[in-house]
Amino acid sequence: MSFRCLILFFLLVFVSNLDAKPARGEKAGEPLKKVVYFSAITLYHPIVMYQRYQPLMNYLTEHTPYRFELKLSQDYRDIIKFLRNGTVQVALLGGVTYLEAKKQFDLRPILKPLGHDGKPYYKSVFITREGNKEINTIADLKGKSIAFASKLSTSGNLAPLYHLYTKAGIGSGDRARYVNFKYHDSVAREVLRGNFDAGAVIDSVADRFKDRGLKTIDVTDPIPGLPIVVRGDASPELTAAIKKALLLLAYKNADHRKLMEKWDEEFKYGFAEATDSDYDRIREMIDYLRRKGVRIP
């Protein structure tokens, strides 16, 4: 064996050892788990998404026979694409994204997160700078520049638009300027910088920026929780395993709470079973806006 072959041999051994390294939640010596790719709508910048969603992946890997890998994309549309072509098998979507995807291929909502009150709803919040004395109610937003999250976002676009139309009668022509940003916290920061008079974000983001100089103007009606969906052809074992692992969690249980405290605000209070009809309310809002001439998405 030549010296070069020897080096190649050692390199191969080293690389194969690296591959064989067990992932978190897997025990050495156990057969390798089947990988399931999990995606989520990018409420925040991918760096933050990885920080906040990876603990959920670890939990699922530990409590199911699968190894969960987080796969993120730049925007909401990419996630629909990933689901359609089978790149990911499970995803956390927004209401609008779910309905948009559902139109294109078979998809099933299996779970929805609970809010801090234990109900499977969340809200959208209108925010402005603390020092802004001109804007105090939703009606003050007339003629003001407003920042929204992604066009496919339910809490960052659909629900606030619907709220503006129905509660304050503010349509697209009544706003000085509006821009859709990729992430909810981009909206919050843009408002904080003073680039926009107001913004609409998911309640958890509004909460996080409360002490950083933003105030709440108004809150929308409850929105059905973000659905965790699987493809229509997903194996019943996978669906059952995910449901079993996540429905087991109860925020009131001290041990569970200790674990869930590290998770993202969106799903740290636990989960409830979801059905397609839960999102009929979203369908109504989309229809309403369409009638008003606003296309979602």
């Binding site: 760096i47 940003f181 992430y183 950083r212």
Partner: protein, 503 residues
């Protein structure tokens, strides 16, 4: 009360123990203070260097990452909003990971804010003025400065965002030095505690040590205090056996040996002094006898004349037995008188070994007066005796004390050339027995009175006095633990008072 306390403190301060403890305390205080200052200064520098190094690492890593972002944005891989989002998250993450980071700012080439942790205050495009950042961007080298951010101390690490001379702006990270200050504060506190505790322990050990060291000196001093008179000096040999003066190998041992040697020399000197005093006393006694001699001769002469006449009559004249017998009796009486006179003189003059016995002062005085009468006869001097009956017997060397009384009485008579009254008085006062010898002579002026007890001081003509009489008298009285006082008025008289303690 306050004065007593002050006196005690003063006494302690000037004691060997006090000086030792004070010196040690001052030394400990100086050394610990200097040591503490050196330690604190070194630690301060280390802490500072440490935080600067950490800041440099932060800045260098951030520089590499942010430069990449700038390149991606320039290439269109990221749009401007992506870049701002990235910078915001980067800053947020950085600050979450290290709570010492007080601020992070990224500026473009014009010094306008691209991202800042305080989003609301430093929006995109705000002009950011900072000297450290300006210099770093100018020199394309990291620049470190100590500054204040929101009135709190920070170390600002500014670094340019560049690849070679291509630049995109700059980055500045402000690291709080409050923790360093706190750590140094805690360190100072700990050092103060340690210093105080160690100083206290050291002082305690030093105090005990000083006490142990000064003990032999105090013991030696108490032994010295115990030597009160000539008798104690005679027991110097026995001192070697005292447990407090046991043999030591240190400096105190040398001091003890020196002390004992000095005591021996003192005892020898005392013995010599005694011998000299004896000799001087005897000489002075002879002088007194000389003064008494004419009176004594006269006193002897009278019976001697009677004896001569009686003998002549016995040899030359026929007489009856009765007359013969009368003559013989006269001769016998006269011889007895002569014998008495000579015995008294011999008694006065004999050399005696110093020995004390219980003596009645009045008898002592009366005996001296008998001898003195021989001296007074023919002079116009009246002797008055006022002797107290309440006197106890005193332990005295009778012969020597008699010499003292005689000496003073002779001086008194000599002061009364033209006659006068000599009053001899005995009495008791406050633990002392007193003998007063008072004359009505010419008295002495103060300058003479001050010197009369000095050896060889005399107011008499050459050959008349030795100048040792009163000096010897004083020595004898003091040997008995007494004192001799004098009071005199010129042309009115002089009074000597001998005070002897009642034993």
């Amino acid at each position: 009360m306050k004065t007593q306390v002050l006196d005690k403190i003063r006494e302690w301060v000037f004691s060997l123990q006090g000086k030792f403890i004070l010196t040690a305390s001052v030394c400990i205080l100086i050394f610990t203070t200097i040591g503490s200052m050196i330690i604190v200064s070194r630690e301060k520098n280390l802490y500072k260097q440490d935080i600067v190094n950490q800041g440099k690492v932060f800045a260098e890593i951030s520089r590499v990452m942010l430069t990449n972002v700038m390149v991606y944005t320039e290439l269109g891989i990221m749009d401007k909003q992506d870049m701002i989002d990235y910078l915001d998250y980067f800053i947020m993450n950085l600050m979450e990971r290290d709570r010492r980071i007080r601020y992070v700012v990224v500026v473009d080439n014009d010094g306008r804010v691209v991202a800042h942790n305080k989003i609301a205050e430093y929006g995109y495009g705000t002009r950011y003025k900072d000297e450290a950042l300006r210099r770093a961007m100018e020199t394309l080298q990291p620049f470190i400065a100590e500054e204040y951010f929101e009135n709190r101390p920070v170390i600002s690490i500014a670094t340019p965002l560049n690849i070679s001379t291509k630049r995109w702006g700059g980055l500045e990270i402000g690291l709080s030095t409050e923790e360093v200050r706190k750590a140094i504060g805690i360190l100072k506190q700990e050092i103060v505690y340690i210093t105080v505790i160690f100083s206290a322990i050291s002082l305690l050990i030093i105090s005990v040590g000083a006490r142990i060291l000064s003990k032999p000196v105090i013991r030696l001093s108490s032994v010295m205090d115990g030597i009160k008179n000539h008798v104690d000096l005679e027991h110097v040999e026995a001192m070697h056996e005292l447990p407090v003066l046991k043999e030591r190998r240190d400096e105190f041992g040398r001091l003890q040996n020196s002390f004992l040697w000095m005591m021996q020399r003192l005892r020898d000197a005392d013995r010599e002094h005694k011998k000299t005093l004896e000799l001087l006393g005897q000489t002075e006694k002879m002088v007194a006898i000389g003064r008494l001699a004419s009176g004594v001769a006269h006193e002897i002469n009278n019976p001697l004349g009677g004896i001569t006449v009686c003998f002549k009559n016995l040899l030359r004249t026929e007489m009856d037995e009765v007359t013969k017998q009368e003559h013989i009796e006269v001769i016998n009486d006269s011889l007895d008188r002569i014998k008495n006179i000579v015995e008294q003189l011999l008694n006065f003059s004999k050399m005696t070994v110093a020995e004390k016995s219980p003596v009645a002062l009045n008898n002592l005085v009366t005996r001296q007066l008998i001898l003195l009468n021989y001296y007074i006869s023919g002079k116009d001097i009246k002797v008055v005796k006022e002797l107290s009956e309440q006197l106890p017997r005193l332990e005295l060397d009778e012969n020597k004390m008699g010499q003292v009384v005689m000496n003073i009485m002779i001086n008194a008579i000599q002061a009364m050339d033209n006659g006068g009254v000599l009053t001899i008085r005995t009495g008791r006062d406050n633990g002392f027995c007193e003998i007063d010898v008072e004359d009505t002579g010419r008295g002495m002026p103060a300058d003479i009175m001050n010197n009369i007890f000095d050896p060889f001081f005399t107011t008499k003509g050459t050959g008349e006095g030795t100048g040792l009489g009163l000096s010897v008298s004083k020595g004898i009285v003091e040997q008995h633990g007494g004192i001799i006082e004098v009071d005199s008025v010129v042309n009115a008289g002089t009074k000597f008072r001998i005070r002897l303690p009642v034993t």
